[in-house]
Symmetry: C3
Subunit: 331 residues, 3 copies
């Protein structure tokens, strides 16, 4: 995994200027981000769901991997901040003309783009862009390979904080295909940073990355043991294409062993939160009755996701702008 120097994401005053990974960010900064998101939640409930914070700014959704759902949340967040939004599905455009990633992004920067929201199949792509391609554009990582999905992690943290409060008293289980999940990585880092004392990962051995212990988590291969008395269950989406790879037993077998059902959920605390980054596979990793049940906050997560993205975008824009002014004054 790419080492992420803390300063790359922060400006000279320690403010966020890119948002690439949870790794290396302080508890104070994550808490500030959650507080800011809290304040934006109220915007979504207004008759006029807009604030002028990014008015006249150009936000480019640069998606090298198709993801309508994630792109939509960033597009909405940007529009509610009054930004101008450009959607670029790169796989089907410039690179088909043989242009390099480097040239594509340099061109967008030359058009006076202020922010890139980047989704890429390769781990470290957003990091590479922020460090080597367009350091003066605020870069937001919207998912890079198996590496990180930090806005998803922060919306999960907002969900937990709003529904369970203090992280220092919680047991949180992350269940499923940890090996291929950028969400799991980012969530483990965020929970750790925010002081969660009991982070559990529950997965078959074949779906656990090497060195999982470095995250300070407890590993369980048995769902029924791992879920015991947890406050929060974060289910991961099962990438069905993994089935063919031989890493997994049959879909039915996976569901029997690792599926969250009313029966297995009963092993957690009685009011344990049920979370999932979506889109859910009903009957594959989660039972419909649980996904739609009273303990599920899956749709709340979507609502909080808009607020978190608004918070990330406005904070990074502020930090990046302040950095630019600082650099210009220094020159």
């Amino acid at each position: 995994m790419t080492q992420m120097p803390q300063h790359l994401q922060l400006n000279h005053q320690g403010q966020l200027r890119h948002f690439l990974t949870i790794e290396g960010l302080s508890r104070e900064l994550l808490t500030e981000l959650l507080d800011t998101a809290d304040s934006f939640l109220e915007v979504g409930e207004r008759a006029v769901k807009k604030v002028p914070l990014l008015r006249g700014k150009t936000v480019c959704n640069v998606f090298f991997e198709n993801s309508t759902r994630t792109r939509t949340t960033f597009e909405l967040a940007a529009k509610r901040l009054s930004a101008d939004v450009l959607n670029l599905n790169i796989s089907t455009s410039s690179t088909s003309k043989g242009e390099t990633l480097y040239d594509t992004l340099q061109n967008l920067e030359a058009m006076a783009a202020d922010m890139f929201v980047v989704r890429h199949g390769d781990s470290g792509a957003a990091h590479f862009i922020a460090e080597h391609v367009c350091p003066d554009v605020a870069v937001i990582n919207a998912g890079d390979g198996n590496h990180a999905h930090p806005t998803q992690a922060m919306l999960d943290m907002l969900t937990i904080r709003r529904h369970r409060g203090d992280f220092e008293k919680l047991s949180v289980a992350i269940v499923g295909d940890i090996l291929h999940s950028r969400v799991a990585r980012s969530n483990m880092q965020a929970l750790k940073t925010l002081g969660c004392p009991d982070i559990r990962v529950i997965a078959p051995r074949t779906l656990l990355p090497d060195g999982i212990e470095q995250y300070g988590v407890r590993v369980f291969n048995d769902l029924r043991v791992g879920l015991r008395d947890v406050d929060v269950v974060i289910m991961l989406r099962l990438q069905r294409e993994r089935m063919q790879s031989g890493l997994l037993p049959s879909e039915g077998e996976f569901y029997r062993l690792y599926g969250l059902t009313r029966e297995t959920l009963a092993l957690a605390k009685p009011d344990a939160l049920v979370m999932h980054p979506g889109p859910i596979n009903r009957g594959v990793e989660i039972e419909s009755e649980v996904a739609d049940g009273p303990q599920s906050v899956i749709l709340k997560q979507v609502t909080y996701g808009i607020a978190v993205r608004m918070a990330v975008m406005s904070m990074a824009m502020t930090g990046q702008t302040s950095q630019r002014q600082h650099t210009q004054e220094a020159n």
Copy 2:
């Protein structure tokens, strides 16, 4: 055909909150809609073609069936009302990840979407969404299977009213593939509700639905008889793919029997209006000289279509918002 309880489309005060079908709507409501559209027509002629009625609202064009033309009219109408617009071509996105229609829409609702403009290949889809999926989001039917296309019908009504006035004195003929036309169904209902005493449908027997009489129309299999002395001719687009199905004779034969030409148009009243929902097939169902001729209002229909969609959107948003407040106060 799905039964549509009147109250599903209306709020506690009888205002429009969804717009799914003409069926069950009162003459007063249709007239109010036409009056509102009339007032928006003027907006399209201004230097600044915008009104702030939907500012800060999020309108999602959720198209399960590709239709650039219809999507464009709704997008423009929403933008002229100052809404934020999201275009979602669902066939190529989430459902390819196996997500259900239900989950896709619930997610959009959780993002605080205010309105769904829905196009779907299945009859009753918009109805299903409004009733069972997202009752608190205003749902506008932009065409569902062979069932209904109510905004097209209302723009046809606006065209007739502006160019011919009182519906109670008119003979209107609808010509072509009635069987597969959502436009025809919605138009028959709208004309009936608005008091049109002589609605004629003209089609070969193979392109007429069973039970067509229930609409209170007169059926003609001979174009030359049916067109006699009508005030308005509404041509339907011929879906060429029907040709292969054996329901139709050859394209040439169809044109000879049911095409609107200068010769057949001469059988109608001398100043009879020529209408078509577009896109037209020149030389298939209509002669170019007629489509572009002095009696044609085909391009006017397009202009009126923007105003009608602005009217539908603003009225449904008002009705839905008022319903939400009512429900919240009741709780």
Copy 3:
């Protein structure tokens, strides 16, 4: 090549109302356009990069040929002028239903569109639209076949003027596939009109159009001779698909003979500007070190391109609006 009567692009007062080609435009008008673009450059540097000049106007990007890069620049320019923007990729929509170009555009006009930005594979398409289809909509040519790409030419002129000043003292070389380049044609016309005394085209005989002399240029088949002492080098993108056509030697051979490298660039003036319309093919027509080197203004061209498109759009909108009023008053 289509003859372009000067009056088609200009209104009754000689103001721009369409922007189809450089041909026939006066030096004064091109200079006014460059001056206007200069003033918009400042907008791109503001915190709020927006001016309200096109507020409430509807700009349709009507692309019959996919070009994300060009479409993006026009979309951004329109949004910074506060217009509502519709993107229509026509190849994948209406025309697949068999609708004619004529009907598609007439429909957009009926929706009260104010401006069409047109990209088309056929030479003369934008011209045809402005003359025969929608004369009352401002038509901007965003590239038509091998014919013209006038906004690219004007951004090239802005680049030269800002970095080298007076055109009357300059030697400018255009290098590469002149035969298939709409950029080359428009650039030769613009340079001529602006008074450039020494325009050189450098290409193999197989990539030169017949009658190239009519543009008042000097033709060179040898890059090393043609580059001698020029002030500006405009490289053209090599369309690799030409390779198969037998018009070109191998890619390696082309690079050896016509590639701009540090070695060949040294033959030009020591501070000669290096330009390219992008996207560049590194190692095909230009060496990476030259593209990224101190003499390259390739990314500046992109920045200026937004300002030039804002200038073209605002000037054409003004001219078209004034023409409409004039026509209405005359009636």
